[in-house]
């Protein structure tokens, strides 16, 4: 009997788009299109089981082996550094991690820079590499308002179109890293479900090249 390949996809548009690539790669599970509240879908015929997870949790499912494969953003991989293989860049969900501030912001090196962010690890590493002394203010959402209400000098956040920044009178000062969706694999699963995983990756790569 073929071993089931467990795949964690991020809930939302990105996950749905990724699923279509997986489906075309021969890992279909038609039940997933049924509009209901189910989170786990299994297709014994193609030996695959999908589940929808919170985007930031996908890497945890994969690292802990609950999922063999997952689709997650590079931002999550950089922030949490899970011990997984990063097998493919799906080149979707493209955006940037950037440092933004009010248009009149001028960095004063004599002062500790106050940085509001959801991505404390990425921000710390970025400023440490520049030798800049910072004070991280970890927020869980609405990061853009932090400089406006003088909670921070700058923010480090994901910028897609820049509309949210613009509406809050913020501008990008520096790009930190490009972000896109990546296919990750559990290290142990890669050994024991190698044929299925290699087949999936090669089929996905083919689609991306087309």
């Amino acid at each position: 009997m073929k071993k089931m390949l467990n795949i964690a996809l991020p809930k939302g548009r990105l996950g749905e788009k990724a699923y279509r690539l997986f489906e075309n790669a021969g890992f279909a599970c038609p039940e997933i299109y049924e509009n209901n509240r189910k989170l786990i879908f299994e297709n014994e015929e193609s030996a695959v089981c999908y589940f929808w997870a919170k985007p930031s949790d996908v890497a945890i499912y994969v690292e802990r082996g609950a999922a063999d494969i997952g689709v997650t953003g590079k931002d999550i991989l950089l922030e949490y550094e899970p011990d997984v293989y990063e097998l493919l860049d799906l080149k979707m969900g493209k955006c940037k991690m950037a440092m933004a501030a009010k248009a009149d912001f001028r960095d004063k090196p004599t002062k500790t820079l106050r940085v509001a962010t959801k991505f404390s690890h990425i921000a710390s590493e970025y400023f440490a590499a520049k030798g800049r002394d910072i004070d991280i203010i970890h927020l869980n959402g609405s990061i853009e308002i932090a400089p406006v209400i003088d909670l921070s000098d700058v923010i480090v956040d994901i910028v897609e179109t820049g509309t949210t920044l613009k509406e809050n009178n913020l501008v990008v000062f520096e790009d930190i890293v490009d972000i896109s969706a990546r296919v990750i694999a559990n290290k142990s699963s890669f050994k024991f479900k190698n044929k299925q995983i290699e087949k999936l990756i090669s089929q996905l790569s083919k689609q991306l090249e087309e």
């Binding site: 802990r64 290290k187 890669f190 024991f192």
Partner: protein, 372 residues
């Protein structure tokens, strides 16, 4: 003691010890504490650099061992040409990356110290493979050679930061970012292509070696590859050969490791359970002229591996009252103990899951409940 009564990590310790004994490795016992200074000097060698420290009565700063290898090297003096083969079962104290708190981890491992030749490398690999096999038939030993990557990267004259990024990409099988990273490096295109090819290689040794032979022929990595090939050739015809894979994503610190390195995986356990390699560079750093190779098995990972989850806490529960004689209770216990575990109670415990409930009321024995 019945083997089934043991937890998987306890069973593993017994089996691993008998494997190492068979190959003439001697048990090595050490103190729980070690001078903190030893770890400060070799911080990067440790899995996590946080160490539990305390001041001894004489004012010396001591640490609860976070690692065994450093202590073994420190305490082992060798005569020229001598080889020492040791194994240990020790608890180490490390910060868990997941919880960021200290954990006591039971670790079994072995070290072969002295003039390391190809037979020593082969023997340690055999023992690593046998260790994995004793835990599960479905296990894999991934092998790489730090000398191969190091030779190519040295030739490319990468900066320290570039080298770290290249190794991180190879370790994550992240070929797409490795390609971007190498595009910014000024080096021979053939060497860049070689690194990219190695990063994507994974497979059984007998399938991968011919391909490696072709791509590494005439390169700076040839000597290291030849050693790997010689050692792996010794596995031909052995049952263990099937579980040996070549994987360059197995990476360890270039500062300490120089030769064959390996990691072991067991199906059903999400991370590597065994890790080791040849660490002559650490020996040099600790002012030892000889070489060394060894590995450790992380037994804490086995906790979740108990597949035979029991449906019952106990096979038979015997409830007795104060009117029953000691003789009747004793005989009833002896009767049911033949077929499994027995727990005697005076009052029922509703949380307990049992297969059978027996009551002794005024010396009258009656089975009151049988569960399938």
């Amino acid at each position: 003691m019945q083997k089934t009564a043991l937890k998987s990590e306890e069973r593993a310790v017994l089996e691993l010890r008998s494997i190492y004994d068979q190959f003439g490795y001697s048990p090595y016992k050490m103190s729980k504490f070690e001078e903190y200074d030893l770890y400060v000097r070799n911080k990067d060698f440790l899995v996590s650099d946080a160490v539990i420290t305390f001041t001894d009565t004489n004012g010396k700063l001591l640490a609860l061992k976070p690692d065994v290898t450093l202590s073994i090297i420190k305490n082992t003096q060798l005569l020229p040409g001598q080889v020492k083969k040791l194994y240990y079962t020790e608890n180490v104290y490390r910060v868990s990356q997941k919880t960021q708190s200290f954990k006591e981890i039971m670790q079994v491992g072995l070290e072969c110290i002295g003039e390391i030749d190809e037979y020593c490398l082969y023997e340690v690999l055999v023992l690593a493979a046998k260790s994995l096999r004793s835990i599960s038939k479905n296990s894999v030993l991934d092998i790489s050679h730090m000398g191969i990557l190091a030779a190519i990267m040295d030739k490319m004259s990468l900066s320290k930061a570039q080298s770290a990024r290249v190794l991180a990409c190879i370790s994550a099988k992240n070929v797409h970012e490795l390609e971007q990273e190498l595009a910014e490096v000024e080096a021979d295109e053939a060497d860049k292509a070689l690194l990219l090819e190695l990063a994507g290689i994974y497979g059984k040794a007998n399938a991968v070696l011919p391909r490696l032979e072709k791509v590494l022929s005439g390169t700076v990595a040839w000597d290291a590859f030849s050693q790997l090939k010689t050692v792996l050739a010794a596995f031909e015809g052995s049952e263990l050969n099937k579980m040996i894979h070549i994987d360059f994503s197995v990476i360890n610190d270039l500062k300490y490791y120089n030769g064959v390195i390996f990691k072991g995986f067991v199906e059903g356990i999400p991370a590597s359970i065994l890790s080791g390699g040849q660490y002559d560079k650490l020996m040099r750093k600790m002012k030892r002229s000889s070489g060394a190779v060894g590995f450790a098995v992380y037994l804490d990972m086995l906790e979740r591996f108990d597949t035979d989850s029991k449906a019952y806490d106990v096979n038979t529960v015997i409830l007795y009252d104060s009117k029953s004689s000691l003789q009747t209770i004793k005989e009833t216990v002896a009767h049911y103990a033949v077929e499994g575990t027995v727990l005697t109670l005076k009052t029922a415990d509703k949380k307990l899951h049992y297969r059978r409930l027996v009551e002794i009321r005024a010396n009258e024995v009656k089975v009151v409940e049988e569960n399938a």
